[in-house]
Symmetry: C2
Subunit: 297 residues, 2 copies
Amino acid sequence: MNNPHFEQYFATMKEKVEVQLPNVVDQLSAPSKLKESMLYSLTAGGKRLRPLLIFATLKAFQKNEEIGIGAACAVEMIHTYSLIHDDLPSMDNDDLRRGKPTNHKVFGEAVAILAGDALLTNSFQMITQHKHPDVSAEMKLKLVTELAIAAGTEGMVGGQIADLEGENQQLSLEELEYIHLHKTGALLQFCVKAGAILSNASECQVYQLEEFSKHIGLAFQIQDDILDIEGTEEKLGKPIGSDTTNEKTTYPALLGMTKAKEKLTYHIDQALHALYEANIDHDMLEQLCLYIANREN
Amino acid sequence: MNNPHFEQYFATMKEKVEVQLPNVVDQLSAPSKLKESMLYSLTAGGKRLRPLLIFATLKAFQKNEEIGIGAACAVEMIHTYSLIHDDLPSMDNDDLRRGKPTNHKVFGEAVAILAGDALLTNSFQMITQHKHPDVSAEMKLKLVTELAIAAGTEGMVGGQIADLEGENQQLSLEELEYIHLHKTGALLQFCVKAGAILSNASECQVYQLEEFSKHIGLAFQIQDDILDIEGTEEKLGKPIGSDTTNEKTTYPALLGMTKAKEKLTYHIDQALHALYEANIDHDMLEQLCLYIANREN
């Protein structure tokens, strides 16, 4: 992202969520170790891409981004819980995340599992308890439903299981896409949908935005796979080559690097095409889409 | 429970939930191993005490129990997830639950963690997607909020962390009560509150029912501790004496068996007192309260 105008906008919105997230946990009455463990991962940085997608979608409909702050915190809490559980010894068994020891390395497995459970559980209350005159009870109910679908059995967790089952196996492109559309894509799709729900988008706009978010979800993952080979440990905050170590099927492994990069370009093109069709003020969403394709971490 | 009228009522309501729960999972589109793991624990039997508390509260307000079926499934899914995660090697490391191998023993740790995550996530959608003309959007929002509070950081998960931290330590009665009011009590309290929300109970009635449910939560745990010493493996479906093995502080260990039993009687008396003050049709709730005190598993 090389345009100072966009950079400033995203920095401001990122700041908004990063100020809010620790407050959410600080206000809870609970044993300090649980709160410390939740905060450790919640404040460990990261791109905050999911909240930014919500805000950028609201901006596309010329809505006040304030109405999305509840959903933004909720989705970041769910993303954080999924990273904590993913890193566990019985899952990916990762020691480093964003350049820091993973949650279970610091707090132990039991606390890490429970901190994840707590972040997941309390995320729903971020949506229901967020107060804004433009956010109706019906909107909140839709958000809770969509978030549960995106994060649960039919979404992220389903993708995670498929990912585990696919380890040490040669997957087809179809199987690989199933994994990523669910494991990573579902939550990204939720973000754009949440923005659309809060903006009372038309059915046609929701359809185009669903197409947009499906393609950026796949693009995100292809770039992830590329970075695991061509990235640097310094910028990624974790060792490169971990997909090979974990014997995971990746786009470059399946298609070769050249075709994987073509696939990335294809999904970005498709995403932008759908976005332009939605007939909204698309600048910020367009920037996020290009950022996803060109990011270095 | 020796009265055939009550027995019949609870058997019918239990059946309602037990028919509904597998349907919820069957209808989901997800990898079969995830659904199998979720169903394994969800259909493993159990008392279904939490759904029964919701139904009995609705009956006390002469409401149609149908309006509580969404919340009943939700709370049973959350209870089930909590058992799966509690049994994990890094937590209580239990091999048996209700006479059957625990979830991770059958499906492995990774799948067990994810099945728990999925049950927790999808539980919220049970509430928002339940359709009944007498259940308003506002009621559903309150239920989601209360369930997240009861199951999350300030409720069940907070209690579970306190329980872990209290292992191998001599706890005070106050610390022991904190653990149980949160780990077990919070979800039981939610059930009674859910019935009250769905019945438009008065503030005064909600207060009395909160007192009622707080005391039955503690009574439930004291009886649990007593059964771990005086129960039989056959009826419990798990080895007795596990609290001693896990070096957990229990009511009998802290107070002696006689005083622990007096404490049980005290909480049952207090619960019934609050219940009678609520001025509702209390028969079924009274029966559940007595059942909690006298149960053998």
